[in-house]
């Protein structure tokens, strides 16, 4: 493995330390912040993609990094398997694109003296997501979750607008107790096993001691991460925070942060509690029901929205439900679909919010009806949105189609026809809210006085949006290359 051995730690710590350097640049050299941040994230991205050369979806093929050289149950272990690497590469690429996009957008929305804090927090957010995904230790996961949480609260409020501050506070008021619930869950897990390392925990939980305490800890974990992931009854903070935050942050929060929390649930279900089968099967049923409710609720609310970003935010509630439902079905096809949907959702939702940001940047238009006739002046932005919308709906050449195909296949194979119906209804709802916007953009004449003069969004904003929307097409068209491996990784998780 050679030098690859050290890649996981560098992927995480390089952006982390670059973030810490930012305040020192806050005087006069604030212009350097963005290039520096971009360099750090690009380095992480390159290292992440290089790891595909050594990590394959096989039982014994993962990178285990022992911090300080201490063996796992005593020291902390970073463990990157194929599913983890898949998530890491989504995080790296989407956050790099959002960072590039921020360059223009932030100079408009954030006052100059705060830009350094914005980039610092942005890097901390990305690094925390990377560390959170890669770690093999439950308490370490909590630490990175806190970095993630604190930076996202502040990033929602960074513009200082009234509604933004209130949305951030609402987010904090739900997010902080959920963090404490996760901590409580870790304490309960520790009390019944005496270990914190995920692999070791799996072995110990197989013994089946203190099963009530273990069950309670899983319930608290689901409640805690459920708030972070905005699973249906716990999603209250999401629409406000995601729609009011600056658009690149909305894209990060919606495309990645909630996803990372779902990924943590996936990890806990299969890597930690997998052996305590009673606990998992009991809770997965409940998770499935709430997730199905979330798919429908999010879809219906998205159809009813008048604010463009609010609509996308509710669509996120619906799509997180898709992934959680896929996890709760617990078979290989559904899990493949869930993993692939993590990728698809990151790309498509990221693109949605970047497009919405382009409209806000150019025109300050936030309402859907203001987008009537938008394609006359901003055709490229509208087209990027339309392509990503195909993926959100699940129309064939896109990655959204592939993931939904597997999700529905999985629910039919698992005998859960009702869930398959939920997926189909969710798609119909998605078609309703996406096609309405597309219809407004391309086929309706503009409202008087809205789309006169002006032009396309700046290149630095168009390129990230287009990369993301082409990504959904590419990942759909080339899915035959990847999907086999993802399916093997899903099979490994289930084992």
């Amino acid at each position: 493995m050679g030098a690859y051995r050290h890649f996981p730690i560098l992927i995480i710590t390089v952006p982390l330390v670059t973030a810490v350097l930012m305040p020192a640049l806050s005087h006069r050299r604030e212009r350097l912040c963005m290039p520096l941040a971009a360099a750090a994230l690009s380095a992480s991205t390159v290292l992440t993609f290089l790891l595909y050369r050594v990590i394959r979806p096989a039982a014994d093929c993962f990178l285990s990094y022992r911090l300080g050289g201490w063996e796992p149950p005593w020291g902390i272990e970073i463990k990157v398997d194929f599913a983890g690497l898949f998530m890491l590469s989504v995080i790296c690429s989407v956050s790099l694109l959002c960072l590039v996009y921020s360059r223009k957008y932030i100079s408009k929305e954030v006052e100059p003296g705060k830009a350094f804090a914005y980039y610092s927090l942005f890097l901390l957010l990305s690094a925390a997501m990377l560390g959170f995904t890669a770690t093999g230790d439950v308490f370490n996961m909590f630490v990175f979750m806190e970095i993630l949480a604190l930076s996202s609260y502040a990033l929602v409020a960074v513009t200082g607008r009234r509604d933004a501050v209130r949305a951030a506070f609402k987010y904090l008021l739900m997010g902080a107790p959920s963090s404490i619930m996760v901590l409580l869950a870790i304490a309960l897990l520790y009390s019944s096993t005496g270990s914190l390392n995920m692999a070791h925990l799996k072995e110990l939980l197989a013994e089946g001691a203190y099963s009530r305490v273990v069950f309670a800890s899983l319930v608290f974990m689901i409640m805690g991460f459920g708030v972070k992931a905005a699973l249906f009854p716990l999603h209250g903070w999401l629409p406000d925070a995601h729609s009011i935050a600056p658009s690149p942050i909305s894209a990060m929060l919606s495309g990645l942060v909630v996803e990372v929390a779902v990924f943590a649930l996936l990890r806990l279900f299969f890597t930690v509690y997998g052996a305590a089968s009673g606990a998992v099967s009991g809770t997965s049923e409940a998770l499935g029901v709430t997730a199905a409710a979330g798919v429908l609720f999010g879809g219906v609310m998205a159809v009813l929205q008048k604010d463009f970003k609010m609509m996308i935010a509710y669509s996120t509630v619906s799509h997180i439900g898709y992934i959680a439902l896929g996890i709760s079905i617990m078979n290989e096809q559904a899990l493949t679909g869930a993993l692939y949907h993590l990728l698809d959702h990151g790309l498509a939702k990221g693109c949605f919010f970047l497009c919405a940001g382009a409209f806000i940047y150019e025109r300050d238009y936030r309402r859907i009806e203001q987008l009537k006739g938008a394609s006359r002046r901003m055709p490229l932005t509208c087209a990027a949105f339309a392509v990503a919308a195909l993926s959100v709906i699940g129309i064939p050449p896109t990655s959204g189609f592939i993931s939904k195909w597997y999700l529905i296949w999985g629910s039919v194979a698992g005998g859960k026809y009702l869930y398959a119906a939920v997926y189909l209804i969710g798609s119909i709802l998605a078609a309703t809210y996406c096609l309405r916007v597309i219809y407004y953009m391309f086929f309706l004449p503009p409202q008087p006085g809205t789309w006169e003069g002006g032009g396309e969004a700046p290149v630095l904003m168009l390129v990230p949006a287009w990369v993301l929307s082409l990504g959904t097409l590419l990942m759909g068209a080339l899915s035959f290359v990847i999907i086999g491996r993802v399916q093997e990784a899903a099979g490994l998780l289930l084992r």
């Binding site: 501050v165 904090l172 304490a187």
Partner: protein, 131 residues
């Protein structure tokens, strides 16, 4: 009842957790909510420290030839040190938001904050802030 009386430290932690949770979700004042968060957090710390305690244990410091077998578990203590930092950082962030909220809304009452939400014109341009 099982071991409820043996585990009375844990029981107190549970009571404190609920007290804090009550403060977070029921008290309308946002500073009260933040105090509640801190109480919840310390209750979990109390649970963790008690988990690491051992009958007749001594602090895990090797000074003066102390015996390893009689020491309490150092791991929860190390974890809680991190937890304390997390708690104080969260409090700092929350209080900074409180100060900004008060500057903009003139109230610390959550019900009142939410009521203003209904009156507000949605999607206002960048205004407010602290100038």
């Amino acid at each position: 009842m099982g071991r409820l009386l043996d585990n009375y430290h844990y029981a107190v932690a549970a009571v404190l957790f609920c007290t804090g949770f009550y403060s977070v979700i029921m008290r309308p004042n946002i500073i009260k909510k933040i105090i509640g968060l801190n109480i919840m957090e310390t209750s979990v710390f109390l649970l963790l420290v008690s988990l690491g305690w051992k009958e007749g244990g001594i602090a895990p410091i090797h000074a003066g030839g102390a015996e390893a077998a009689s020491m309490v578990n150092p791991l929860p203590q190390a974890l809680i040190l991190t937890g304390i930092v997390v708690a104080v950082s969260t409090t700092a962030v929350a209080l900074s938001l409180v100060i900004l909220l008060y500057r903009q809304y003139g109230t610390l009452d959550v019900d009142r904050l939410m009521r203003e939400e209904e009156l507000e014109v949605p999607a206002a341009g960048p205004e407010g802030g602290e100038g």
